[in-house]
Symmetry: C2
Subunit: 454 residues, 2 copies
């Protein structure tokens, strides 16, 4: 008897566990997740919420779920305020003319059509801008040059991204006329990183954009010469009325408890600069493939496996909010949830946030995940952004942590395209999602509800 | 007595050789080349021949030569036909709408303002297009998808670039309406690679552009679905009248033979998408620094060290042609020539094309280059593009071969920016250029003239 088998919980039928191990290993050779991702990125491509790509993606998702043989395919309406990208140019006029690669931050206001021309004032970090006197900022375009640090867990993102979120509001509060930031990314490409800025309709804000890392380097070098730097900024992206998108849901129905759901999935929308391959077509491919392979190879499990392709994660988690609202009377039927939304590189850890009583099943998960080089990251785990409303309302969650070392080279840029995905790494993801999803769907117990958030 | 010293030719003063070795090693710690490169890319940036950046670069170069203490700074006029970049967009209209990242190929004709819309016909290589029947091509936009192969010596470029040169003419000859190619580059960025297409005023041609590697992958994947792919192409780049640029020349005068020249240098122009850091501000930094450090540390050598910053290498080697014409009566005073024009990564080999009688001095060069991990590549060497007219007329040349493994990730793209340069690798270049330049300037003999081209 191997160590793995010893660690397994007694609740599962040995034949089921054996089937699951075989499927896990077969999944490592499966191209299905990659094929689904290729299909979404090729046949739809960019799919910013509210854009023509949004509706195309919804149609694609319904057709794909049906093609894959999901038992039940549904859409649920997601109302949202639409934000539409416009022109975006940045030109240093003096002392040395240059065109900068820039992209508007999501949810920001437009400049006038003729643009805004003003002197640049430089801050190393958001904290420095926050500490600055209004007289330093008034009438100027602020520039935060903090660079994101690369790491396996992507934690550099959280540190740097506060500048993206807040600079437009902080700049406005100090009398600045516009804001630019160094892109929140780890690459050296002239492909600026977009992403959402904080938006509150009652808080003043200014037009804001991110310039690419090489452009930020150039601007820093220019500013070192201690001559005034004048920038002309045109960013015509803007709020653009109301829109109704859709969450698209594919269910593989449970045999014993069809009204209990293991909720996995991805977000269907993407930023508009690339084809949203890593963010988050990959997550769709991984989770759709996992459900499909479980269904075809093992058959129906006790609970329903629900794959949700969430609408408008990127600038509002609108799909998550709408789903939570629509299902608030049946939240306790959502037994465990996870989202794949950090690219397609290999998974190195499982984190959970489940009841103590469910930890033996987590041990079983780990015994099947260890051959995939996946460690346990503890029971203080988080979840994807789209599970935040339900997690806060009490749902148990898990996270299969992907190696994010290169993810932020491409995240939210024109470079987020299919070629960035290694099919072999992606298949390892599918194998891991199969293990966790199938064991949760087949478990005799629930995973707790109303767990405290630390 | 070391092996190195044993290999050295007797013609050189031992004190000079000792000074040269000390300088070679000091140069490894010098930041001068990087500082010059930072200056050109920051204070001028893009400098397409005939653009506003061209005149700024000429002014920058004169000022920089003077600041560095060159004995004689000159400009020489370079007439050229100007080519100006316009708008450039490519959009797949059906079966799946996508915007492609595209850039016009240099020297190509514009589309009408409303663009050209036609079906795409795909060829794996230029040879396949050349072999195609006119009926396959007539009325269509051709697409060549051959991918450049990465290698240390950059030889993949020569193989793939024929498509860039010829597709516009071949497509026109077969009745096609426009041509696109997969970028000639080794990266996976959405930064298409421009570059010159062949132009002959009497040969029909069509508008032509290069799409980025990820866009080429997307288009190939779409074409695999066997549905007609319709592309709308707008490329308004065009020929734009006459212009006079300048070669900028800095001389460090020789003490004994001031009218004999060791010609080193770079090209001053760049493509317009990036700041031309690797191509070819780096070559300017390396060769200007080499001449400056020789002058300041060792003093005047017997011959003049002439640093030429060539005008419009990129779409016509106009500066090279003008210089050859202006100096054709004194070509034999051009003793040896070399150009630095393949980025800033480390040099791994010296190639020469010199008289047999000069090979003992090449041996001396090699004895001083070996500590820099530089091998000898033989006496069938080539030269930079700007030395082609003088080499063909008989001038002896050398080439310090740089590792080009990553060069074609950035070459002719928006990504050709300062951050791609490693200052330490660049300093190794300077050390090598110092060795070859100083020994050639101090040698008692010439390096031959009228050597055969194989």
């Amino acid at each position: 008897m191997s160590l793995n088998v010893m660690a397994e919980s007694d609740q599962f039928n040995p034949a089921f566990l054996q089937q699951l191990k075989v499927l896990r290993d077969q999944a490592l050779d499966s191209q299905l997740a990659y094929e689904i991702t290729e299909s979404l990125t090729t046949e739809v491509g960019a799919r910013l919420a509210g854009s023509p790509g949004d509706a195309k993606a919804v149609a694609w998702a319904q057709a794909k779920f049906k093609e894959l043989g999901f038992d039940r395919v549904m859409t649920e309406p997601v109302p949202l305020k639409r934000w539409t990208r416009g022109q975006e140019t940045a030109r240093i006029l003096s002392p040395f003319p240059h065109n900068l690669a820039i992209t508007a931050l999501g949810r920001t206001h437009p400049t006038p059509d003729e643009g805004i021309t003003a002197e640049v004032v430089h801050f190393a970090t958001l904290a420095d801008l926050q500490a600055a006197d209004k007289s330093e900022v008034a009438g100027k375009i602020t520039f935060i040059s903090e660079r994101m640090v690369r790491s396996q867990d992507g934690s550099g993102y959280g540190k740097a991204v506060a500048g993206r979120g807040l600079t437009a509001q902080v700049t406005a509060a100090k009398g600045g006329v516009a804001a630019i930031i160094r892109s929140i990314g780890t690459d050296n490409n002239r492909t600026p990183h977009t992403g959402g800025a904080r938006y509150d309709k009652d808080i003043p804000s200014v037009p804001a954009g991110a310039i690419s890392n090489p452009d930020a380097d150039l601007l820093v070098n220019m500013l070192k010469r201690n001559k005034p730097v004048t920038l002309q900024l045109k960013l015509t992206s803007h709020w653009d009325g109301d829109y109704t998108s859709q969450n698209v849901i594919g269910d593989m129905l449970g045999s014993e408890k069809p009204d209990e759901y293991i909720v996995i999935g991805c977000h269907l929308d993407s930023w508009d600069l690339g084809t949203g391959a890593l963010d988050d077509a990959a997550g769709c491919g991984i989770t759709m493939a996992a459900a499909k392979l479980i269904h075809d190879t093992i058959g129906p499990l006790k609970r329903t496996i629900r794959v949700v392709l969430w609408a408008n994660e990127e600038y509002g988690i609108s799909g998550a909010i709408a789903y939570h609202e629509a299902h608030k009377n049946e939240l306790k039927q959502h037994i465990l949830g996870g989202e794949s939304d950090l690219g397609a590189d290999k998974i190195y850890a499982l984190g959970t946030r489940v009841a103590e009583s469910a930890l033996p099943t987590v041990d079983t998960m780990m015994s099947l995940l260890k051959p995939l080089d996946i460690e346990y990251a503890g029971n203080q785990g988080s979840s994807g952004a789209d599970l935040i409303p339900m997690r806060r309302a009490g749902m148990a969650v898990f996270g299969l942590k992907q190696d994010a070392s290169s993810y932020f080279d491409y995240h939210h840029t024109a470079n987020d395209t299919l070629d960035k995905i290694n099919p072999e790494s992606m298949a390892q993801n599918v194998a891991a999602w199969i293990v966790v999803t199938a064991l949760a769907a087949e478990a005799d117990h629930d995973f707790g509800f109303g767990l405290s958030e630390e």
